[in-house]
Amino acid sequence: MKKKSFLEKAAAVPHFVWMILFIVAPLLFVIYFAFTDSNGAFTFDNILNLSSYGDIFLMSVLFAFIATVVCLLIGYPLAFFMSRLKPSAQKVFVLLLMLPMWISLLIRTYSLLAMLDNGGLLNSLLNAIGLPTVKIVGTRGAVILGMVYDFLPYMVLPIYTTLSKLDVRYFEAAEDLGCSSVMTVFKVALPLSKSGIISGITMVFVPSISTFYISQKLGGGRFDLIGDTIERQFLMNNNKNVGAAISLVMMILILISVAVMNRFGDDDGGELIV
């Protein structure tokens, strides 16, 4: 084996330093705080007391699950439609999809709030044509809508990438063997784009389950999700030990769900972007 040259080693140094400072060290801090009390003494109390947050965990999982399913139902047909377009049109659609991702998540959520609020764009329009105000902000639907709005591109892009790489001849072969266009989607496109679907699900589910901003703004502060709880523990209650414990448990939950998803995609070697 050829030994790595000095230059090759040196090139990796900045990244190593970065990883240690901003990924490994914070992780260690989280673990440390999770197992200590406010005086720094070792304890399991933080973890054991988490059962009182069970409802919050459950609701977060439920919200994230619904948002992921909605994203998949909207995103898959869109990705399929895009992948069948002429290459020039595909580029336009990808750009349109990416454009909102270049804007900060906070600003996107704020603008959605501005549109949906009681005095917002939507309700002004409704009032103008003589319809009553619809209360959207502060409902469960608004939180899920926000998640879908913010994370939909993360569902569409990996699925689109997988689909657009598929040989057109697979579809032609299916049609040749008697499949109508709808059957072709179910018998060929879906199974062959499994790895894209799994990446998409992971990339929507994980940020949805840990979000705090969306639920605070669009939920009108009425729904506490895990993310909100963690934020409150750290910033308002100044109880970083409980916050760290919740973070740790959530991280483990996410790792488990990612591992389960990976297992599904294993047989076709689907490479995941997590």
């Binding site: 040749d176 063997l177 076709d268």
Partner: protein, 377 residues
């Protein structure tokens, strides 16, 4: 013997973005025939096949199947099945499921599916491969799965798009024989697309030679070889010396400065024509006894014969002979009347048939087909 026309293409034209791919194609295919569409890259043969399969719609003209116009019938409702170039086997299904695909879509009963898939896999010599993943198969095996996947549906017509192009020479020869045997056993009409003239000659009942979106000639392999219609066909099928000539009268042709007896008639007096002489039909004699006289410029050993390039008044002839001739030696050429074939002048005159720039490497290059022919939108 009048057989039914199973497929009838009438005045088919097709163009992509202003470029004409098919120009007024008229072609009918009889039931149970083995028809080969033969031509170089970009001649329109794959497009023709895709029009029959339903993957392309012609701009003008009619596609008829069993006498019924099917221009607007989608592929999944046509009684044809396709063996795709590079197979397009479904990677997420094993061999059995790939072959069973069409039957499952048609909602055939499970017991019957098992029976028919088994029979078809036996037919293509893949017994015992049912549970194998298609991605682990060799090229030849994948090829057989692709054929089985199409045949199991009992199509009336099987379309084969360059099915042997990805295989190596030895395997290609074996598969040629197998395909021919399959055709005889199944009694299904085969429409076969290839750029390989040898494949076409050895397998087909009928060859359709295409170039530039037009049909150049339709005929049996022997017709196409012995009586090519124009310089393109003569050059594309086998080796040919193609010379400018004049038809002096019936059965009298003049070329290379000599008057020859021939078997062709029906031309006008003194009509300029193209003359084809196949390299294997020329006899070599002593220089003073020959009808033509020339100098050997090169000689190559080919195993079965020698290939000689002879310079006769500046025109390079190719001659295949079992006798060795030393380079730079003077030899005489003797040509029997039945070795001469006279063709009308065409747009392809003067484009082919002189071996002055001939080299094998060049020949290989010009025949080799790019992987992606006739891009479709």
């Amino acid at each position: 013997m009048e057989q039914t026309k199973i497929i009838d293409l009438k005045n088919i034209s097709k163009s992509y973005g202003g470029e004409t791919v098919l120009n007024d194609i008229n072609l009918y295919i009889r039931d149970k025939e083995f028809v080969t569409l033969l031509g170089p890259s970009g001649c329109g043969k794959t497009t023709t096949l895709r029009i029959i399969g339903g993957f392309e719609t012609p701009d003008t003209g009619e596609v008829c199947f069993d006498g019924v116009k099917i221009n607007d019938v989608p592929p999944y409702k046509r009684h044809v099945n396709t063996v795709f170039q590079r197979y397009a086997l479904f990677p997420h299904l094993n061999v059995f499921e790939n072959v069973a695909f069409g039957l499952r879509v048609a909602k055939v009963k499970e017991a019957e599916i098992v029976k028919r898939v088994k029979e078809t896999l036996e037919l293509v010599n893949l017994k015992g491969f049912e549970r194998r993943s298609v991605t682990t198969l060799s090229g030849g095996q994948q090829q057989r799965v692709a054929i089985a996947r199409a045949l199991v549906n009992n199509p009336k017509v099987l379309l084969l798009d360059e099915p042997l192009a990805a295989l190596d020479l030895k395997l290609r020869k074996d598969m040629q024989n197998e395909l021919k045997a399959l055709h005889e056993r199944t009694g299904i009409t085969f429409i076969y697309v290839t750029h390989d003239q040898e494949e076409a000659l050895s397998m087909s009942d009928t060859i359709v030679v295409m170039a530039n979106g037009r049909i150049q000639q339709i005929g049996t392999p022997t017709d196409i070889y012995n009586e090519p219609k124009n310089a393109f066909v003569a050059d594309f099928i086998g080796e040919s010396n193609i010379l400018d000539g004049v038809m002096l009268d019936d059965f009298r042709a003049k070329f290379a400065g000599h008057e020859f007896k021939c078997l062709d008639s029906g031309f006008e007096k003194n009509e300029p024509v193209d003359i084809v002489v196949r390299p294997e039909d020329v006899d070599i004699v002593d220089a003073d006894k020959g009808m033509l006289k020339g100098t050997v410029t090169s000689i190559t050993f080919k195993g079965v014969h020698w290939e000689i390039i002879v310079d006769i008044q500046g025109f390079k002839w190719m001659i295949q002979t079992t006798d060795y001739c030393a380079p730079d030696s003077e030899i005489g050429l003797f040509i029997e009347p039945d070795a001469i074939h006279v063709m009308k002048k065409s747009e392809y005159s003067d484009m082919f048939g002189d071996y002055s720039s001939y080299s094998e490497e060049f020949d290989e290059l010009s025949v080799a087909e790019p992987a992606e022919e006739e891009k479709t939108e």
